[in-house]
Assembly symmetry: C2
Homo-oligomer: 204 residues x 2
């Protein structure tokens, strides 16, 4: 039986960063994917009515960022000093600010408001954030933080398909070659590549 | 010259958890408060156009949660094992989910939509979250996590005035005595109390 179980939908989203880190760690994990139709029932037994969550040593933990930081620490991907860990954390939180703005538009229930906000955000909020991360990644030699491989790269790479979906730019990594560099740094790791190849393409 | 400088508005909000942790740490800090009218100009020189941010050892770091985690680690308030650190992180992230939902309503620019959503959220989202944290805190002996003092208590206590403002329940700590317990645990620490007494009341 593998040490870890990851519970998430059959897509990348917020589950994929965790899966990529576990693939990197190489300890083995059960990749439990829940079909959308089974979610309402499955939800009742989740820690906080949320996915992803992870199970190990008889305990469950939710919240993707927290789990990624934990695994990052475990696998030597969380910086060499407390200040480096802080540098990673602040950049990931900055990315989450962006992710949440994009998500607020994407999951807005009022269709008219959704399209209106999308148009608004596409003019300033999205380009500003994309530009900021492009500059940061260029400064960091194709990495998200610290100029080296950290769990922030896995977070960004794992979530990238969802980001493209939310900002509606299907060739985002072509428009921003810096982003492709982060993807390459993560997916060129043999264990990560083996995992990704085995799963094959998913919609997002 | 104190080791740390904290830059934030003259209110509690997301700056106060950092100030409370620094007061606890006792290394000394400059509490730089920026008046609302000066913010547009000051903003130009901030790391990412955001406050709070902190300065030390010639570097700046933004993002309140990241800074609190860093200080929590430094002052022995981040759990005794990586799994305890994860437990704190997931609960803080869960609280942030709530904070962001409340903030999305509070800072909605469309007044009509704002009041409509506030009414909606007051029926289910807010009570569900408040009930959840009440139960968690009761389970944790009046602490936010792990049944003991952690940086999560400081995060909750520091942000509490803003939370009350956002959910519009001025006597929130009376309706939920569990919340008062967390406040008491933090503000009864002599160094923290001395800081809070010196600052005096602020609006939120």
């Amino acid at each position: 039986m593998p040490k870890y179980v990851v519970h998430y939908f059959n897509g990348k989203g917020l589950g994929e960063p965790i899966r990529l880190l576990l693939a990197y760690g190489g300890e083995g994990f059960e990749d439990h994917r829940i079909a959308g139709k089974d979610w309402p029932e499955f939800k009742k037994n989740t820690p906080f009515g949320q996915m992803p969550y992870i199970e190990f040593d008889g305990k469950t933990y939710a919240q993707s960022t927290s789990i990624c930081r934990y695994l990052g620490n475990k696998y030597g991907l969380a910086g060499d000093t407390p200040e480096e860990a802080l540098e990673i954390d602040q950049l990931v939180d900055l990315f989450i600010d962006f992710r949440l703005k994009a998500a607020a538009v994407t999951y807005e229930k009022d269709e008219k408001l959704k399209e209106q906000r999308f148009e608004e955000y596409s003019k300033d909020v999205f380009p500003e954030h994309l530009e900021r991360f492009k500059n940061l990644i260029e400064k960091n030699n194709g990495h998200f933080a610290l100029g080296k491989l950290t769990w922030a790269d896995f977070y960004f790479a794992g979530f990238f398909a969802s980001l493209k979906f939310m900002v509606r730019i299907p060739d985002l990594e072509k428009k921003y070659p810096a982003f492709q560099k982060v993807l390459d740094h993560v997916y060129s790791i043999p264990k990560v590549k083996a995992y990704a190849d085995a799963v094959g393409p998913t919609e997002f």
